[in-house]
Symmetry: C2
Subunit: 347 residues, 2 copies
Amino acid sequence: MEVENKYVTLKKHIEGAPLESDLEMRSTVLVLTVGEGSDDVIVKNMYVSIDPYQINRMKKYSPSQTAVNFSTRLDVGQAIDAYGIGMVVASNNSAFQKDDMVAGLLGWAEYSIIKGGNMLWKIDSKEFPLSYHGGILGFSGLTAYAGFFNVCKPKKGEKVFVSAASGSVGNVVGQYAKLLGCYVIGCAGTKEKVDLLKDKLGFDDAFNYKEESDLKSTLKRYFPEGIDIYFDNVGAEMQEAAVANMNAFGRVAVCGVISEYLSTNEKRAAPDMLLVVYKRITIQGFLAGDYMDEFANFISTTSDHLRHNRIHVVEDISQGLESIPSAFAGLFRGDNVGKKLVQITQD
Amino acid sequence: MEVENKYVTLKKHIEGAPLESDLEMRSTVLVLTVGEGSDDVIVKNMYVSIDPYQINRMKKYSPSQTAVNFSTRLDVGQAIDAYGIGMVVASNNSAFQKDDMVAGLLGWAEYSIIKGGNMLWKIDSKEFPLSYHGGILGFSGLTAYAGFFNVCKPKKGEKVFVSAASGSVGNVVGQYAKLLGCYVIGCAGTKEKVDLLKDKLGFDDAFNYKEESDLKSTLKRYFPEGIDIYFDNVGAEMQEAAVANMNAFGRVAVCGVISEYLSTNEKRAAPDMLLVVYKRITIQGFLAGDYMDEFANFISTTSDHLRHNRIHVVEDISQGLESIPSAFAGLFRGDNVGKKLVQITQD
């Protein structure tokens, strides 16, 4: 059986903020069978994840290039791999059967061929909506879990600050922190998001950073007793201000630095290293992929929270492959509230 | 018995690089007896340590003020506490007897009164020259030991870069790293220092940073396989360049940032946080005082190295209390080679 496989690709390398016109739709003909002796798996994609880090692969020079063997630089016209949820339509791989629901590294496409079934996992449970496996029970959730528990090493009662706190990772970090008994404040870029953090997600407080002119003073106001943990999704000025307000032995988990993704190479705000020394602060970058041995713990803990309604799921789902360019560009305008997914098919 | 106690103090708060004229000598009359019921200890100072961090206490605003309860801001005219070696001249404290040799927080003075014998230790062994207890077997050595072993967590074979590598801490870090089996390169600011690192201290290589115009390229040349550990004594451009050349899971121990001590608040070079994320780099500030529980290990290990001539001691000793202002100002001109001490008395 042959299908037309539509996919999203890069029209040209991106400088600055991405425009919808930087991406385009293409298609190829795909035969939905896997040859004898191959352990490839063909997946019909249902939900795909839309994440800010993809911008770094779309630049002429990719900062990930020298450091990791995934998320590498994209060429114009190349299919774009991305985390997602789908259904197996063809497999000779003993680990996957036709009609299995799977999660893993799929792509911004209708179908993905997964070489050797690599970076692909079966979704065995139907307890939760499928989309959850693309966010709260997927890599965004793991990023929040490993970043908070393994990198930040939080203790009950500590003061936690989360930036981009209504985003896919930040909102989960804040909720984990509250469940542990931390004091948690988040920042976001609209009143709607700030209200969500305070009214629905249980943050102790939240503020709109766009309404603040001096972030150091802002954080001093919100944390009169200082910050113990800063979960950083934005970098630059906010990171500098957080370090300035940090307590001794404070920890900064650098998950992402979205405010720096779009900037060119000029000097930007950065933490005062004298304070890093005197306060014995640790600033640590991390990637969720290094914490796969925590995956089972993460799923078990988070599923239990979901089962008992202790965690709210905040999803922002657009419909159809064609909506990917606007969904992606929208990330950098702050359009999304919570986990941004695109649903490719209703099947 | 009464003596005139001469001491060095701040004439005015310092902006930018310290001048000898920023410091001045004063004196008070001191009675060399301790009252009944007091556990104070009076010490005749023999060697005092001259360290760059003191500059941060001499500014109008001290960055240490909010973070630590030692090394706090100095007032004009105030006696300046500093690590040193001396002899007990009077004590009612049961832990210290007259004529005991001691190390600890003394001062830039002929005599120091140590309240409660706080931050004071007896030197029991006469195996090594007394001055060693002010450097390699004192806080500089502990800083190198704890910073390298506890903060950097080195493994044999790792590639280690040390800045200010001929300084009091850097030269010891490099020697520990070589003894562990690491590949070690240092940088310094004169040909004499570079030669010392290569010819006497066993560094694999060394370079004069003043002769380099593009530190990123320089480090790429010296570390074609990347840096695993950067022991940072200088901050700013060098830190940025080291992070740019770091391998995945690299560690930066921030011991000091001397290049930033003299600058005002304008934006300075800083690590690229995108690289910190993708390479999962940890940047950690530390203070030796947090590792007092390592002191016994440190002394035992380092004494053993000294006993077997596996570590070279690099000292730079000036004579007389009056030489403190020029010794201190000289630190920021790179005058010292190795541990800078001032010998107050020959007794």
